[in-house]
């Protein structure tokens, strides 16, 4: 409880966001650019930042009457220029079969030119704009979803929000569209916000929706959210900082998406970034902003480095804490014990491609399975010979082998082999695993043991280690 009130000093609330960060850092001129999407596009494009291509814009009823619908591509997004919170956006994915005047939305429903006309009239009339002033509608290129994100997303496309202050990225969040949010990447509408470790671009904790409920799995699935490494991480941070330099927004919420073909694409400048990013990261912005205040940073790359160094690196501990799993590398030191009480320390290869853990014959002997191997080798265990036997026949064949737990048929790149299985215990990263291990000659291989999927359930693997 004491912590509860102490921690308030680490957070930025609405009052302090507006007074301390937005007012002094975001000039009227810069905010004007951010609130005008077409103008933002122009400014960002000029600065060399990749953006979704503008296809056409409609700024009056006259424009609408004269609009050439034939020039629209098969897929695109229609947006209100001064829209906010993802309202008033229509995205189509292709043309309706046999209908030259209709496109298809993500849910399969058709949108006709007539529907578009109605919607655009609403946009022109200011129904989706801040404070209902008349607005402009525009068509832009639809970004294509990265395969990596597919299982994490419901329709729509996820984006990455980066808060940039004083040329330093201070906090980031991945926003995943959900069913509740209707495929929009907006937390207010029920999207998922996932905290990101700034140094590595790996996801940590997550919250869903306006109520900021903490979640561990992608909604309606058993897919864990933490531990996902976002590709192009450094590029994304560099884009965010560059956008700050160009836009002049001192306190910026930069939205970047990743297109399947183009890579990172800058979506939107936000002059009033929301505060839920703190909940998604389970971390306060205030501390971070204060650490960055007053630093003199000239080069973009230096700003990115500072952000990565200051606000990253704790991902492993965090991930371990949240998932209850240990983070291990591709090769780990392990302690093995088998039949005899002898403890053998070796380096193990972590192999998610293998189902079972398997150990070298010599190592098995060392662990007290000499007799098992001896007895097993005295039998004719050639696969061609065994494959025609019934289960009963095989069982009786191996009945006499001591300490044999089981046998396993392993299909690998070397062909199919029949292997003895014994029980060993493995201590890896301070955790004890009791494993069934197949025995095979690994004398020509670098590591005398590989740990397979069956025994990796309590671990997460970081391939960079």
């Amino acid at each position: 409880m004491l912590n509860f009130f102490k921690n308030r000093k680490k957070l930025v609330g609405m009052n302090s966001r507006n007074l301390r960060y937005i007012r002094p850092n975001n000039s009227k001129k810069a905010i004007r650019i951010a609130d005008d999407k077409i103008l933002s596009k122009k400014v960002l494009k000029k600065g060399g930042i990749p953006i979704p291509r503008l296809i056409a814009k409609i700024s009056s009823h006259e424009d609408l009457d004269n609009f050439d619908w034939a020039k629209l591509p098969n897929s695109f997004a229609l947006k209100p220029n001064r829209g906010f919170g993802g309202e008033g956006i229509i995205v189509v994915y292709g043309r309706k079969k046999g209908r030259p005047d209709a496109w298809v939305k993500a849910d399969g429903s058709a949108v006709t030119i007539e529907d578009f006309k109605n919607h655009i009239q609403n946009i022109l009339d200011g129904n989706f704009s801040l404070s209902s002033v008349p607005d402009t509608a525009f068509f832009e290129e639809r970004l294509k979803l990265l395969k990596l994100f597919k299982p994490y997303t419901f329709k729509g496309i996820p984006d990455i929000r980066v808060i940039v202050y004083n040329k330093v990225p201070v906090m980031a969040m991945l926003r995943l569209p959900t069913k509740e949010s209707g495929g929009k990447a907006n937390l207010q509408q029920g999207a998922v916000g996932v905290g990101i470790d700034l140094a590595t671009g790996v996801t940590t904790t997550a919250v869903q929706g306006k109520k900021s409920r903490i979640i561990e799995y992608v909604p309606n699935s058993r897919l864990g959210i933490s531990g996902l490494a976002i590709p192009y991480w450094r590029e994304i941070l560099e884009l965010a900082v560059k956008a700050q330099e160009i836009s002049g927004l001192g306190f910026l919420g930069a939205d970047v998406a990743i297109d399947k073909e183009r890579g990172p694409v800058f979506l939107e400048l936000n002059a009033r970034p929301g505060l839920s990013i703190q909940v998604a990261n389970l971390s306060g912005l205030k501390e971070r902003l204060e650490r960055v205040t007053g630093l003199k940073i000239k080069k973009l790359k230096r700003g990115v480095n500072v952000g990565m160094d200051l606000f990253g690196g704790e991902v492993e501990e965090e991930v371990e804490e949240i998932s209850g799993r240990r983070v291990i590398g591709v090769v780990e030191k392990v302690k093995l014990t088998g039949r005899n009480a002898k403890e053998v320390e070796v380096e193990a290869k972590i192999d998610t491609g293998a189902e079972f853990t398997s150990i070298d014959i010599d190592l098995a002997k060392n662990l007290g399975f000499e007799k098992t191997i001896e007895a097993y080798e005295s039998l004719d265990t050639d696969w061609d010979n065994l494959k025609n036997m019934t289960l009963k026949e095989r069982e009786s064949l191996f009945k006499e082998v001591p300490y044999l737990l089981d046998t396993a048929i392993i299909h690998s790149s070397h062909g199919t082999t029949y292997r003895p299985v014994v029980r060993i215990s493995i201590v890896m990263d301070k955790k004890l695993i009791t494993a069934k291990a197949t025995i095979i000659s690994r004398s020509h291989l670098k590591y005398p043991i590989i740990i397979g999927r069956k025994n990796l359930g309590r671990f997460l693997i970081d391939v960079n280690n």
Binding site: M14, S16, L19, R20, N122, L282
Partner: protein, 223 residues
Amino acid sequence: MHTHYLIDYFVFQGVPQESVLLILMLPIVATLIAFFRQIFGIKAFGIYTPSIITFAFLAMEGEVGFKGIKYGVAIFISVILVGMATRYVLKKLRLLYLPRVAIILIVVAFSILAILVLGGSMQRTGLAAIPIFPLLIMIIIVEKFIAAQLEKGTKTAFILAIETLVISLVGYFIVSWEILSIFILKYPWAVLLTIPFNIFLGKWTGLRLSEYWRFREILKKMQ
């Protein structure tokens, strides 16, 4: 009752004491709304709507006694509900903004008229006797609601409406608090204290009460 000589002077010049008092109350109501926003995080529809409704409540009370507030709340809620329902029906017509709001206003106005007539026929004379000007104000409020609904969604607009009602009620009880009236008539300059208080509010950077709720998970879990 002893009043400040300045107030006596105003009254002597022909300004009704009631008007002087209400004008002096306005800064207090405005400050109250700012306080609710900055410290509690209760937003309502800006500063105009809750203050005008506070005074509408007061005006209703003026004619029909304390019952006025009861009818005032009932009418406020009816306006919001009828407005919401009408907008829902109109949605399919896809009308432009102002004509749409105009139609909603018409429906709300007729509904309120029906309620008044119904009240009269059921011998609820208090309801029928509500003065017209605060009633009109209440009806017009539906535009604020529709605008909020468009911008922020039905749920948020509904919450904002309830927040507006709560602030207006608190405002009403403060303004109609007799001790405060007597105090202000005696020390009208005291109203100016709202200025430094608002400067304090305007510089306040602490968390709002509502944010303790919003950030509860992180407040609990951060080291």
